[in-house]
Symmetry: C2
Subunit: 338 residues, 2 copies
DNA sequence: TTTTAGCACTCAAACAGTTCAAGTGCTAAG
DNA sequence: CTTAGCACTTGAACTGTTTGAGTGCTAAAA
């Protein structure tokens, strides 16, 4: 009870909490001296700590951990917040990416923290079509479509010697052989048998192979979105510019961030301070949740805030958001697959 | 001479400069008392100011202005810097946008400030082709190409009732009527005669018209790039998070930034502190330069740093960079137009 | 055995006072 | 017109003091 009160108090005020204030707040009547004894015991267990020898207590990482694992009850979400989520997610989006991107924005707006969102897993997505669209004398656009509706494109220049027939032959070759295969297999094929076969139509296929490979990796890449980058400036209490820079740099590297997010699990995960793999994040906490978009796989949303964050509210919010998003995506795919 | 020395000193040290240190530094032999008298006169003229009654002097905005207009000599650029610029700009870029984007990056890296770059003006660019590429049952990609090689695309969903023939007819209509026209005229036509004519082929053209309009505005938009956003954290001496946020928000609004950059002129322009239209920028200075990409119009590069910046070095750098970039673009277009 | 009152002690934060160095302006002499 | 000399000002760095919120410990009360 005391630990719970300390966490609740400290996360909302930011000031170490002392025995007297705590005693006044507890539901039963006890004196501050009693609270002090209990606090000494909690400190012994490593759940709380002092900032200096005569200060009030703050939760330790271990304390937060215990709180999150055993004590916290997610706040029921406010009707208002639900409305905001619902209305921001509705609307006729053109692409699924926009829904995911908006998700990160909403979540960061609601919390004033920084939010991340990851598309439903697409390592499993399959090639459903490849096109080359001639645009001008020398420009060609390569377009790749996957079976869950992702579209990637890129323009490139060709030497004018290449004819339309040649391009068409190449497209046909690729489509005949590779449609329906998962993107990683396609990428493998691109490195083995395809180059051989393509020389039947193109003398110097290197340029083309590079473009095709680029578009392919683009499509296969775990694309994730960040919302509320700037909020970091407010909730970080670091004054070290270099530290902030590293954080921003970290956020821009999707592979590093994938490490940070870790393995997705079905329930909402909370990683606290030094529990995070990355040292730069030692003063922050991360709430991660997966969402299921029907049989289109699982995606991830995450929220990065200060270690001292009001977990009950945030966990409640992330939980509610994940549900709304899942529902929205199921609707989306229903329409799309129809 | 004294003003020049004060500016040089202050921009490199950041500390108000006093009479004694200044006297020691001047090329001729004068006492600190003499310098004090001169400084009093400069202060009378409003060119320098004190931070408190017994402090050394710092240049005022008016002082910087005089310095930049009459005293500064651009530093000759280091051979090393030229190498960096040249090597970063070379390489086989796929799109002109990438050259422009890289420009902002290089410039910010070289200076540790924040850099902006703007494509050669494209209000004048003309429509050279419009395509609709069917991607799947319901997905279509709209592609727009301009005569200077810009490509914009967007995917959208259609109702399956629309046939390939209908789409082709629409594309033909647009291309027949609008190819060769400047983008703003195309946009006008889109609001007047086109909708009428298009109803011959499509019953409900609204969705299509919207997509076409979107792609068009995307292409017509002054697209500009920002490099070294994060550097702002280092060179800003503001501790006010909200101020930083407004600055970042400003940078993300291309129209507001266009205001800030102002009218392009042929020589290098320097705007100092409160001379800037935007109040948020009162502690910063902006160096703007245009570059000419042959007959493909003029573009702009700009550098945002603290008011207290080493102008001679920065002006030299921007000047050299503008030349390199112009040369690079001329080469690019020569290849592209060929 | 648990709770409580009481007390001595600790510490950060806020404040006031001191010293120091780097400046200034002014005056009178060179 | 330049300079030496001097009185004066100021921020920064520092020291010491006070205050209040907190602690741990002890001995008495429940």
């Amino acid at each position: 009870m005391i630990l719970k009160a300390i966490v609740r108090d400290y996360t909302s005020s930011g000031v170490p909490v002392g025995s007297k204030a705590l005693a006044a707040q507890l539901p039963m009547h006890v004196s501050s001296a009693t609270v002090r004894n209990e606090m000494a015991a909690l400190e012994e267990l490593g759940l709380i700590a002092k900032t200096h020898s005569s200060s009030g207590r703050i939760p330790s990482v271990k304390g937060y951990r215990y709180y999150v694992d055993h004590l916290v009850q997610p706040d029921p979400i406010k009707a208002n917040d639900i409305d905001i989520i619902k209305s921001s997610l509705e609307g006729q989006f053109l692409k699924i990416d926009e829904i995911i991107e908006t998700s990160a924005k909403i979540l960061s707006n609601l919390t004033s923290y920084t939010a991340f969102s990851l598309k439903p897993e697409h390592k499993q997505s399959r090639l459903s079509g490849f096109r080359l669209v001639p645009l001008g004398k020398r420009q060609v656009m390569a377009v790749l479509v996957t079976d869950n509706g992702d579209v990637e494109s890129q323009t490139f220049n060709i030497t004018p010697k290449i004819t339309g027939d040649q391009l068409e032959a190449v497209v046909r070759l690729i489509n005949d052989q590779l449609i329906g295969k998962p993107l990683d297999e396609v990428l493998d094929a691109l490195k083995s048998e395809i180059p051989m076969q393509i020389t039947n139509y193109l003398q110097q296929p290197e340029g083309f192979l590079k473009v095709f490979g680029d578009v392919l990796t683009q499509a296969a890449q775990e694309r994730f979105y960040v919302g509320g980058r700037l909020n970091l400036l407010s909730f970080s209490d670091s004054n070290d510019v270099d530290e902030l820079k590293s954080l921003y740099t970290l956020m821009d590297h999707s592979d590093d961030m994938a490490d940070v997010l870790g393995q997705p699990s079905d329930h909402i995960q909370v990683k606290i301070g030094s529990e995070m793999t990355n040292d730069i994040l030692k003063d922050y906490s991360l709430i991660t949740a997966t969402y299921e978009a029907g049989d289109h796989g699982k995606g991830v949303i995450a929220l990065l805030g200060p270690t001292r964050m009001p977990y009950s509210r945030m966990i409640g919010l992330v939980g509610a958001f994940r549900q709304e998003l899942a529902q929205r995506l199921i609707d989306y795919y229903r329409y799309f697959d129809q």
